[in-house]
């Protein structure tokens, strides 16, 4: 229904009052991210009045115990701290629903509970189901939601589902999950969350490209030599992460989702409009245009996998990957991956994209760097040292979000000497106000029915199609490409350096 008072508050879609049901409510994600995100939306006055939150999980807990646990962690992690008055009001809307994920009666009682909430508002109400449980329960939860009729929205209302990653572990499991999801909820009501897309700089990518006239004319094979996307982490397998990581590895954990999403935003054509499908139509074309590394030989030539050996991070000695907690001493899981990608489109023909992701690298950083081709050197080639490097546009995703542009300048003096200089824009310097957490933006978008920053089914499946070839070559072929090694605290294996060097480039030094 039309709300005439909404004018002037329309710079984003309108989040609607609803009941949020979080599956896996006793888990880390709920405590560290989801509840703090919902609370901070309340602090900012963005959370619609009348939002109820129900935590659904297996452990026995009273509402009070559940709330106390949420408060304990919220005080530690909430970006705005905790205002007791707001928290007191907010937490009254949070209740706990105990049930096994596999117990249909638990869903039936959930349905009754939701009906009671709706009855208070005239019988109708919107519902947002957030599946934050372990992935092995995704099927059960979705099927039982359907059995309990909770996937059906009441007239004039909506029922939506947010699914946390991983969206499968390969193409087959992703297709299966998507099928189960789509048998329960329509694709338009399905929100596959990739929190990287909720980050301020990722959202700014489209603004940078399409709201500034100077970049887009240069954004093609004619002017760009290559593009690098780097995601480095200095952490290893602390806190028992090794168990999860052993099953996923760097390629599936980060490249299949976050980094290919960033790649598609960097490389896509201008969308016809900013609608969710307008943007996602263009993004999926990029993933679909990736040249497939579909033989072990192609994988060996274009993908480097590696594990770290013992080394030092921040002056402290750290173990090698195979010595980490919950990691097999004979592990074949990659803690580092570097991929050369080719996008077979008119715009990007012949331009290599390089993605690298690794654990135990020197520092935590995610960035995209656009390396422009060199200017013709006819004028300055005779100078000692020539022209020092070309223009590089760097988009820093985290930390220290911002954009920098490297260019060449004359050193002041009577002689002609050239040096690279950097123009640097820092979000935190220019906009003192902190950005909301990615989850805040994404939850609000789901309440507003805006799926632009969520992955669509075809995007997920196309990404798995590309990844599956590599995984098969690594784990199932007769001539498996080797596992390289690098010392923890260094910038990755020499094989990755050689791969990019063979094309005439170097990894950017972060």
């Amino acid at each position: 229904m039309n709300n005439p008072f909404r004018e002037d508050f329309v710079s984003r879609n309108r989040p609607e009052p609803c009941t949020v049901v979080i599956f896996g409510a006793t888990g880390d994600l709920t405590h560290r991210k989801l509840i703090p995100a919902l609370y901070n939306l309340a602090v900012d006055g963005e959370l619609p009045t009348g939002v109820n939150i129900i935590g659904f999980a297996r452990r026995e807990k009273s509402d009070e115990e559940f709330r106390a646990g949420l408060e304990e962690l919220n005080k530690k992690v909430s970006r705005s701290g905790q205002d007791d008055e707001i928290w007191g009001n907010f937490i009254q809307s949070v209740t706990y629903h105990q049930s096994e994920f596999t117990d249909l009666e638990g869903y039936a009682s959930l349905a009754r509970r939701l009906d009671e909430i709706d009855a208070g508002r005239g019988g109708a109400g919107n519902r947002l189901f957030y599946i934050a449980s372990a992935p092995e329960f995704f099927d059960d939860i979705l099927l039982h939601l359907k059995s309990a009729g909770l996937n059906q929205s009441k007239e004039g209302c909506w029922a939506r589902v947010i699914v946390e990653k991983p969206f499968g572990t390969d193409l087959a499991t992703a297709k299966h999950l998507n099928q189960v999801v789509n048998e329960t909820f329509e694709e338009k009501d399905t929100y596959r969350i990739d929190h990287y897309l909720g980050k301020e700089t990722a959202q700014n990518l489209m603004v940078l490209r399409f709201a500034n006239a100077i970049f887009e004319p240069l954004w093609n094979r004619k002017y760009i030599g290559h593009i690098q996307i780097t995601c480095s982490e200095n952490l290893g397998m602390e806190g028992g992460r090794g168990g999860y990581y052993e099953k996923s590895g760097a390629l599936r954990d980060m490249v299949q989702n976050h980094l290919l999403q960033l790649l598609s935003l960097v490389a896509m054509e201008p969308p016809t409009d900013l609608s969710a499908d307008g943007v996602r139509d263009e993004k999926v074309k990029i993933i679909r245009s990736l040249r497939q590394w579909d033989t072990p030989e192609k994988v060996a030539a274009n993908v480097i996998r590696a594990q770290y050996t013992a080394g030092h991070i921040d002056g402290n000695s750290v173990p090698g990957y195979r010595e980490e907690d919950r990691v097999s001493p004979t592990s074949e899981t990659e803690a580092y991956v570097a991929v050369r990608l080719m996008i077979d489109t008119w715009r990007w023909s012949g331009v290599p994209f390089y993605i690298r992701m690794g654990k135990r690298l020197p520092k935590k950083s995610t960035e995209i760097s656009i390396h422009f081709k060199d200017a013709p050197s006819v004028l300055f080639s005779a100078l000692p040292g020539g022209v020092p490097g070309g223009n590089v546009l760097v988009i820093r995703i985290q930390p220290d979000e911002g954009i920098s542009l490297r260019m060449v300048s004359k050193i002041p003096g009577t002689s002609l000497r050239l040096e690279p200089v950097k123009m640097d824009f820092h979000y935190s310097t220019s906009f003192g106000k902190g950005s909301p957490e990615a989850y805040e933006r994404l939850i609000l978008d789901a309440m507003a029915g805006d799926a632009t920053l969520f992955a669509r089914r075809d995007e997920v499946e196309e990404a798995w199609r590309f990844i599956d070839h590599i995984e098969r070559a690594w784990h199932e072929s007769d001539n498996k490409p080797p596992m390289a090694e690098f010392v923890a605290g260094s910038w990755g294996p020499k094989e990755a350096d050689e791969m990019i060097k063979a094309d005439g480039f170097d990894w950017r030094r972060l």
Partner: protein, 340 residues
């Protein structure tokens, strides 16, 4: 001791740029940041010092080149200038600094003032002009022609009708000019809360049948209360049928009640009702929160949201952070002027 000492180093007007450059050369650990030129104009005695303190706070979140101007037209013609920088730690690490140039002008200043300001703007950055107090003779078409965003506070004006008509003339001449009235900014959270409450399906049912609007305000914030009423009327398409009387599109009569109180927050209540349904946003004096409620029979929902800040400096900071063309304000302005 010179009472202006806290404005920084006094410099000759002709030396300002050179002295600013030296200021940065002394300290290579700091980053100079600027997203806009912010001119703060006052004719209030001592306003320069007050505004310098405000800029120190404002630059924590709004990087700018600040140009502060105080004018005293009664004294003999003279001009004094000072430069300084306000530095804040960004993320606990980097020192981010914003330049401030302060001018104290006396005597007849119209032309001198304009040229002084124009010659010290950071090129290519927008000009935000915060005019404090009544519009005076210094407010001329030539001055307004270079301003991108004009910030005023109509609650401080004796004759808002006359002042707004001068501003509207300026808008006609300078179509890129955005006008921000702090009286309007002062009720942003109230308006956002009301809009949010009407997303609720129960509240939506009364939109066409509203019977009563009650607004309670502090005695000095009548303009804000009237702007809220004007906004409701314009957005819902109500027809004015008399003093504080309206009619909805389907003919329902609406009575508006505007109540002033000395012991109130700037706005302490906006209540919209039809039959047994009441949509209410309220604020206790000095509370940092608004209470948003919908009551309809047994149905009752409520939540808290942040209150609008009260100090003018905080309102300006809010406005700068929000940006926008503020076209809705121009849309409700004729209705507001009718209500005054």
């Amino acid at each position: 001791m010179d009472k202006y000492a806290e404005l920084g180093m006094e410099v000759a007007v002709s030396q300002i740029d050179g002295e600013l450059k030296k200021l940065w050369e002394q300290d290579d650990a700091s980053t100079n940041a600027s997203l806009m030129n912010l001119v703060v104009f006052t004719e209030k005695e001592g306003g320069l010092l007050e505004n310098s303190r405000i800029i120190n706070d404002l630059t924590r979140e709004n990087a700018c080149r600040a140009i502060l101007v105080e004018i005293n037209s009664e004294a003999d013609p003279s001009i004094r200038a000072w430069i300084t920088a306000h530095c804040h730690l960004s993320g606990g690490k980097k020192s981010v600094c914003c330049e401030q140039i302060s001018f104290y002008l006396t005597g007849r200043v119209t032309g001198r003032f304009r040229n002084t300001v124009f010659s010290h703007l950071n090129s290519d950055l927008p000009l935000v002009f915060w005019w404090q107090g009544e519009l005076s003779d210094v407010f001329t078409e030539r001055l307004v022609s270079v301003i991108d965003r004009l910030i005023v506070d109509s609650s401080a004006w004796q004759n808002p009708k006359a002042s707004f008509s001068r501003i509207l003339e300026s808008v006609d001449d300078n179509t890129k000019l955005t006008v921000q009235d702090l009286a309007w900014t002062r009720c942003w959270q109230f308006r956002a809360s009301i809009a949010g409450l009407f997303d609720d399906s129960v509240a939506q049912t009364i939109i066409g049948n509203i019977e009563k609007v009650k607004i309670t305000h502090h005695a000095s914030d009548r303009n804000t209360a009237l702007q809220i009423l004007a906004w409701l009327a314009v957005q819902a398409g109500w027809k004015s049928t008399g003093k504080l009387l309206f009619e909805t599109r389907n003919g329902t009569k609406i009575i508006a009640e505007i109540e002033a109180s000395e012991d109130s927050a700037p706005i302490s209540l906006v209540e919209i009702s039809a039959g047994e349904t009441v949509v209410r946003v309220s604020r206790e004096k000095d509370s940092a929160h608004l209470l948003r409620e919908i009551q309809s029979g047994d149905y009752h929902v409520s939540s808290l949201s942040p209150a609008d800040p009260e100090p003018s400096a905080d309102l300006v900071a809010e406005q700068l952070a929000r940006g926008g063309k503020n076209s809705l304000f121009l849309k409700i302005l004729p209705q507001f002027l009718e209500l005054i």
